[in-house]
């Protein structure tokens, strides 16, 4: 765990401690379970986003994809009677295809990631709204899918299964990002795509793969969100979720210039954001301040991290200078 991640962890613990002192109910198992459920949902989104941000890209269509695929999933299983073990992989494939399209436009047609995914943000939401004619997609009263609901919204030994899914995904993606050849390529491309190309890396394919991974993870989390809210109004569902995902990654030390950031960081970033939302409710802070609290904490977090970095660098330099001077005197 890097110094950066450690700092974030301490921040999370300190905020948690303060909240627990003010309102001890914060530590009730049920509250922790509720919050970790949302950490699971948003964490999966944020990991997907992280794969794209590492390459120096950005995926702004996340929220709209969550709406579109959520609508489709609910519609497939609730209205069209598709079996969920068919619908689920189908939705994941659709997510992958969306990622593929974005990656293709970005690498082959050389469009900017911001532009491509901004258009995606607009288009997918439009399509979702058109699909339901601006209505809501939801389950009828009493419509149940016991296995699916257990997997998505259920708990095992009190731990939400969505959180367990996040942990599994995090472990796998940690290995992929930090230990695998593919992960190294991602970082290299994020740092300097041109140089990576000159080293014989098929940068186009690697970048496309990153967008596909992001698409699949987004699709997965779209299913989780759909099963959590059980009802989706495509005009508003998932709005701003891309900002949550990006914010989690940035808090976790990712640079939007690419090539920087750790998986543990993005998970901790998600945890902090959800902890803040929980805090607003538990401490009875007006809900209108929800956004302001989130923005303020991100800003402070990033600022402290940045200033801490500057401070450490300066100390290192001074140390080097002093050691050098001592060495020179000894000669």
């Amino acid at each position: 765990m890097s110094k950066k991640d450690l700092g974030l962890l301490i921040l999370i613990l300190v905020v948690g401690a303060v909240v627990a002192i003010i309102n001890p109910r914060f530590l009730l198992p049920i509250n922790l379970a509720n919050t970790s459920n949302l950490i699971g949902l948003f964490g999966i989104l944020a990991i997907g986003q992280a794969f794209v941000i590492i390459t120096g890209g950005i995926e702004l269509s996340v929220g709209s994809v969550v709406a579109l695929l959520g609508v489709l999933f609910v519609d497939f299983i609730a209205t069209r009677g598709m079996a969920w073990p068919v619908a689920l992989p189908l939705i994941l494939v659709l997510g992958g295809l969306i990622g593929l399209a974005h990656g293709w436009l970005i690498t082959r047609l050389k469009l900017q990631p911001f532009v491509v995914t901004l258009c995606g943000l607009l288009i997918y939401r439009g399509v979702a709204r058109f699909y339901t004619a601006d209505g809501t997609a939801g389950f009828a009263f009493g419509q149940n899918f016991p296995e699916l609901e257990f997997l998505t919204a259920g708990r095992s030994y009190g731990v939400p299964n969505s959180f367990i899914a996040l942990i599994v995904i995090a472990i796998v993606t940690w290995v992929v990002l930090h230990r695998s050849v593919f992960g190294r390529y991602l970082y290299a491309i994020g740092k300097n795509e041109e140089a990576a190309k000159y080293s014989g890396i098929r940068t186009g394919r690697v970048v496309i793969a990153a967008y596909v991974i992001c698409g699949v993870l987004t699709a997965l989390s779209a299913i989780y969100f759909a099963m959590y809210t059980r009802s989706i109004s495509p005009a508003s569902h998932g709005q701003f979720y891309e900002l949550y995902a990006i914010a989690a990654a940035v808090l976790g030390g990712f640079s939007l210039r690419g090539g920087e950031g750790s998986l543990i960081g993005v998970i901790l970033g998600t945890v902090l954001l959800q902890e803040l939302q929980n805090l607003v409710n538990l401490l009875g802070i007006p809900s209108s301040l929800n956004f302001a609290v989130m923005g303020g904490v991100i800003l402070i977090g990033v600022l402290v991290d940045q200033q801490w970095g500057v401070f450490r660098e300066r100390r290192l330099m001074l140390g080097a200078a002093r050691k050098g001077a001592a060495g020179a005197a000894a000669e």
């Binding site: 309102n23 601006d134 939801g138 009263f141 809210t229 009802s231 109004s233 005009a235 538990l282 809900s287």
Partner: protein, 295 residues
Amino acid sequence: RAQDKPTLAFVVNGASDFWKAAEAGVKKAQAELPDYDLQLKYPEQSSVAIQQRLMDDLVTAGVKAIMVSAVDPKTSTDGLNKIASETALFTTDSDAPQTKRVAYIGSSNIDAGKQAAEIAKKAMPDGGKCLGFVGLLGADNAKERIEGMKEGLAGTKIELIDVRGDDIDQARAKKNVEDALVASPDVTCMVGFYSYNTPRIYEALRDAGKLGQITVVGFDDDPITLGGVKEGTVAATVVQQPFEWAYQGMKLMAAYLKGDKSGVPADGLIIVPTKIIGKDDVDAYAANLKTMAGK
């Protein structure tokens, strides 16, 4: 094409299932008004600027009369007057009495809030603490419903202690309920002020195993809400009748355009009262909904 028949438009305040019933009402009116072209329009976002623009464009496109559920009627006087000066303007859902609108057709949100209080009083004769959930705390309809409910509860042992907003984010709506269960264990009643809030309350309670232990007061007729009412886990729900607004409204506008102003009362207010749907009425109501939607 559109030009040969006069067009009447019903402009809603945002995309929501609530307006699906109004769509059905428009459809029924269309069948009875073959000489008119009836449209129902959703602005792409719930914002004054976007709705204003939509209406400007409709006027440009030659619409003869508009019935609007204004996003923010209180302060949009000038914008609405501008439309009223160019075409016949009617309001629905929430009124803008200071404007030059011809008439208002809809219900009273204050009265709806009072009806919610009735439900609570009936379900909790011994009093209790209520927590409300709503999409936009600042919206007029939310404020009026809350106000009405508080009025209705005045002097009883029931208290509405807080209302949490979620900015129409359903995930947050559900989490708000979950958090409330944690933060305020003494709450005995929950009120869903927007149509989607009641189903989210229902689900959160079900997940927490507290269905039936906490009184749920609902608004509107989401299928889950009606299911809950039938099951007995939702005390009752206050329903508006957007179908009637649209159906009656369209016919009123058509008549008005023909010069028949008899349908417009002196005070310009046509109130379609809200109704309480309890366990006993729910089946009939649901059946009626189905026939209205033509399913």
